[in-house]
């Protein structure tokens, strides 16, 4: 019923296809450039942005370094406030818990607030298998769900669709899911939004169970926070009788006061607004107001493995603002689907391989889904050094080494040489076809030179020795490519 990330091709192959989709590229380019320009203005309004960013990073580091302490404290506070806390080691367990909770209410329908954690666990599919229908209520998620599609952006999941496509999806599919699209629906955004309003209102008014994620969970007070724009979040969080929130264990922040940092960093970084239209905060349950039962499902699913890597750990600071996507030249061309997970763009390139382990050609290729231009690091409100983590993960791919997988220290072998080569070649082959990406990348590469290995280590070495690729910039990438690709046969395929 909904798309799945399973069996996605590796990044370069997927990107290769999506970059040939001109409509997709045009949609994306317009969107990312628009958000970018607005965001710069919103950030410039705060003269203490640098300090806020440092504080945000430090609070997250404090949390991560003592995550056990804060999780236990969160559990106590939520329980004290009338909520019930569940722990899920992996996606299957989270889905089992949520399904069990829904079935126990006797309901067979849930309304959902946009949540990447439940995308990650594939909750909608698990609910469907148990005979429960999950309705996405964020407008973009609704578009994705009705279109049997996958989200392609953290903030604007249907960014790859234009208005005419959305109108067609609504006309074609709304009736199957409830109220049909109005007669003669046009492609004006206001009309499309109105159609969604009517379609979903019916569901909000009858829903007894809701599933959400959360942007923050405050250990000290047990307060959960959801940041949104449309009010669908508020509908789900306050109208149903039972609320189930699935929250990654990295979403905890120590104190109430810490929210003053993130509520300034997040809206300006993501929607480029001083503040998003709606923020809901709830602490357990309140008599006579909102759900009578509140369940918090704390999700690991690879997060503790990520925590175990002292370089990669910083990826868990991410507050999912999507600023890194909007500045990334590779994302702009490739689109979100190429990353093969709910986490696209630069953050996806470092988070997905860590959450899942370097388990398949997709995960192995993701650390190469970057020009290492450093724009993502500059944009990130919690100062995640994404290029540093990318280089670190590339090293793991080519050299192998010790990683933590489902809690166990494991030595992974270097990726098979041919696989690595193909991966690198494809990523390079794709990038060299896009001179603007490269020019920008080369300019910025100079600033982050220290992050680039002189040559690829391990089995990649022979490859890099033969082609002076990682050397920046004695010979420009484009010149190098012009000189050497002739001998390599078809684009992206080493001979």
């Amino acid at each position: 019923m909904t798309g799945t990330y399973l069996g996605m091709p590796s990044f370069p192959r997927a990107a290769d296809a999506s970059t040939r989709d001109h409509r997709l590229r045009a949609n994306l380019r317009r969107a990312t450039h628009t958000i970018r320009a607005k965001r710069d203005r919103a950030v410039a309004e705060l003269d203490d942005w640098v300090q806020l960013r440092a504080a945000g990073a430090a609070v997250k580091d404090r949390t991560l370094r003592h995550l056990d302490h804060y999780l236990v404290q969160l559990e106590e506070s939520v329980t004290r406030a009338g909520g019930t806390v569940h722990w899920a080691a992996d996606a299957a367990e989270a889905n089992r818990i949520v399904t069990g909770l829904v079935l126990a209410t006797g309901e067979r329908e849930v309304v959902k607030v946009k949540s990447m954690a439940t995308q990650e666990t594939g909750l909608n599919g698990a609910l469907a298998a148990a005979g429960i229908r999950a309705y996405e209520t964020d407008l973009a998620e609704l578009i994705v769900q009705l279109g049997d599609d996958l989200p392609s952006h953290i903030l604007v999941p249907a960014i790859h669709r234009n208005r005419a496509e959305i109108r067609d999806i609504f006309r074609r599919r709304m009736a199957e899911w409830g109220l049909p699209a109005p007669e003669g629906l046009t492609d004006r955004p206001a009309d499309l939004a109105e159609a969604a309003r009517l379609h979903l209102r019916e569901k909000f008014l009858r829903a007894k169970v809701a599933v959400s994620g959360a942007n923050f969970a405050v250990a000290e007070t047990g307060t959960l926070v959801v940041v949104e724009s449309e009010g669908n979040g508020r509908m789900c969080l306050t109208l149903p009788e039972t609320l189930i929130s699935v929250v990654g264990i990295e979403k905890v922040v120590p104190t109430w006061r810490d929210l003053e940092i993130f509520l300034q960093l997040l809206p300006r970084s993501s929607t480029a607004e001083r503040m998003n239209p709606y923020t809901s905060m709830w602490t357990g349950t309140t008599d006579g107001d909102g759900p009578r039962a509140f369940h918090l499902v704390l999700l690991d699913n690879g997060r503790t493995d990520t925590l175990a890597d002292t370089t990669g750990r910083q990826a868990l600071r991410c507050i999912r603002c999507s600023a890194c996507l909007n500045v990334c030249p590779v994302y702009e061309r490739a689109g979100g689907h190429a990353y093969g997970s709910p986490y696209p763009g630069p953050i996806g390139a470092v988070l997905t391989p860590q959450l899942r382990g370097l388990a398949s050609p997709l995960e192995e290729s993701l650390p190469y889904a970057s020009s290492l231009c450093g724009a993502c690091f500059e944009a990130c409100p919690v100062a995640i050094d994404i290029p540093e983590v990318l280089v670190h993960l590339r090293e793991r791919v080519v050299e192998g080494g010790t990683v933590t997988l489902r809690g166990t220290r494991t030595v992974i072998k270097p990726a098979k040489r041919h696989a690595t080569e193909r991966t690198v070649m494809r990523a390079a082959g794709w990038a060299f076809d896009h001179p603007r990406v490269l020019r920008r990348g080369q300019r910025l590469l100079a600033r982050t030179r220290g992050l680039h290995p002189g040559r690829l280590p391990g089995p990649g070495r022979a490859w890099s020795d033969a082609r002076d690729l990682p050397e920046v910039p004695p010979e420009s990438f484009r010149d190098w490519w012009a000189r050497t690709r002739g001998g390599s046969g078809r684009k992206g395929e080493p001979s």
């Binding site: 404090r62 236990v72 999941p157 959305i166 929210l259 929607t271 923020t279 809901s280 309140t286 369940h295």
Partner: protein
């Protein structure tokens, strides 16, 4: 509603993995000890109180809330006018909205109570509430479900929200100042402009699910005695 024995063991497993993953953190380090520099501003710029109220009005309007200003004695007439302009007939109000506010408005009042269903709310034209406070720098009103604000859903389901802010004592400059005054144990709703979406080609459309019209009334003096 327990999720079975697996949950208990998963708790231990996850906490165990966390502790193992943090082998690099010195055992003597206490959770609060990892330094957090808090040299960011507690407010941006110095403003007189009236400039702060002006900034609030400006930022609210910038996010397409309709902003009105009045002295306390003028509030009932203003509310009556705004409801009439909208053609509102049925208006939901919190349990303890001062009686005088809507005394002159020719509308049917529905008091918020747990017995009121979501469907009933959906047939109501407007809602009138007070607020807990308002934040000037971000153009935000915050509701904390106090007796003059009612339950969270009454400001959500009707399409038109009139929110009264006392400028004498309810306006703060910044997010840090707001958090200091709010009680986390209460359910909180922060509202910055009406419901909006930019999901279709990033074109902003007001109102998908929440009220499409937000009117904020900045009142000088004390309207609680009305």
């Amino acid at each position: 509603m327990s999720s079975g024995p697996s949950s208990g063991s998963s708790r231990e497993r996850i906490l165990g993995r966390v502790r193992q993953a943090l082998a690099d953190v010195p055992p003597s380090e206490q959770p609060g000890e990892h330094p957090v520099p808090r040299d960011y501003a507690t407010q941006h710029g110095e403003h007189t109180h009236s400039a702060t109220v002006g900034l609030l009005a400006e930022n609210l309007a910038d996010y397409r809330a309709r902003v009105h200003r009045t002295e306390a004695p003028g509030l009932p007439a203003l509310l009556a006018r705004l409801l009439a302009e909208r053609g509102a007939r049925r208006v939901v109000v919190p349990p303890a909205l001062p009686d005088g506010w809507l005394a002159t408005a020719p509308v049917e009042l529905v008091r918020d109570s747990p017995a009121l269903t979501a469907r009933e709310l959906d047939s109501i034209d407007s809602v009138v509430t007070g607020c807990a406070l308002a934040i000037a720098e971000t153009g935000t009103v915050v509701l904390d479900a106090g007796p003059d604000q009612g339950s969270r859903r009454i400001t959500l389901v009707p399409d038109h929200h009139l929110c009264v802010v006392r400028t004498d004592d309810q306006v703060v400059s910044s997010v840090p100042q707001a958090l200091r005054r709010l009680a986390p144990a209460r359910p909180l709703t922060w509202i910055s402009g009406p419901s909006a979406t930019s999901d279709i080609e990033l074109e902003r459309v007001e109102g998908v699910h929440g009220p499409r019209t937000l009117e904020v009334i900045l009142v000088a003096g004390d309207p609680r005695e009305l």
